[in-house]
Symmetry: C2
Subunit: 198 residues, 2 copies
């Protein structure tokens, strides 16, 4: 890559990181180009789709999450490992608002720039799930795809402002649906008041 191209590429990534953090992963690409001081065509040259930009931005995080799953596979109780990883991936998506929708689209779209990352994450989760199942700690009728669905649903829910006060609680509810003999999980959260039933 030519030096000026490299500079633009890096600048676009840095600005996109800021803009997406502020406004979510569906922020205006025009705005990204503008704030990067770069022509709109330059953005599209380096990142032909929004997914390509997201992939470049989040690649290292995806890799870290997959590696983390592998690390957890060799440590501690299978159900604890699965639970810990679920917490991490939900924390990740929560820190990257708007990213779960393109991830969910990408999981079955081989042409998406996010496809490989999502497939890796699904496989990482599937391995943790399989280990928990092998020891009877997780529902036997789930697979990696179902786990990915549940993660996506939780991640989307976590993005909804009205849900915020119950985020920890509902995480545990879903976790309890995945795990067996552990229906109450570590469910010692507060913040779920008695009000709110209209």
């Amino acid at each position: 890559m030519r030096a000026d191209a490299k500079k633009n590429y890096d600048q676009l990534l840095a600005v996109a990181r800021d803009v997406f953090t502020e406004q979510g992963a569906d922020a205006s690409l025009r705005d990204v180009a503008r704030r990067a001081g770069v022509g709109l065509g330059t953005l599209y040259r380096h990142f032909p789709t929004r997914e390509a930009l997201l992939e470049a931005l989040l690649r290292s995080s995806f890799d870290a999450l997959a590696a983390r799953a592998q690390g957890l596979e060799a440590s501690g109780a299978p159900d604890d490992a699965l639970l810990a990883w679920l917490r991490e991936i939900i924390a990740f998506t929560h820190g990257h608002r708007g990213v779960i929708a393109p991830m969910m689209n990408a999981i079955e779209d081989e042409n998406s720039a996010l496809h490989a990352s999502c497939v890796s994450l699904r496989a990482a989760g599937a391995a943790l799930l399989a280990r928990a199942q092998a020891e009877g700690h997780a529902r036997a009728d789930l697979d990696g795809a179902a786990l990915f669905d549940l993660i996506a649903a939780l991640a989307w829910l976590r993005e909804q402002p009205s849900h915020a006060p119950r985020a920890d609680h509902l995480f545990n509810v879903i976790a309890s649906a995945i795990l067996v003999d552990r229906r109450r999980a570590d469910d010692s959260d507060s913040g779920r008041g008695t009000s709110g039933n209209g």
Copy 2:
């Protein structure tokens, strides 16, 4: 309302029903006005926000769902009643793609035209939930707001094409998380193959 206004109002609703069915609740309002043969300002006069249009379009369905909950309250086992109602509300949102996001926004926004409908639905679900809890058939640590969150999460998931083959299955998984002593529910669905773990 003047006769011509009434005609435009009805025409807009009829066209919006078609357009939203085809393209989802986030379809272009310009397109609705265009296909209704009406000026864009006329649409905004009758329906100042997209939520107002949705509310007018779905009011009778919301009422029916709330009434249905009341009917179910007086019939059969509390857990069956809750489960049946959950199925109905998920079927409803599935038939109205894109409606769950504005509903989730509206639940805590008193200025939204959808607010009252959503609050009614939450209350209807809360009553069914409370009855199931009273007989020990549902997790005691849930309330109407949590149930609404779970419904929204399931509804969003149901909108994702990649999730479609597991829709029935994951409905039962979540249902099992809500109900107690019934972890496997009516979970006799097929269609969750062994593939898909990348």
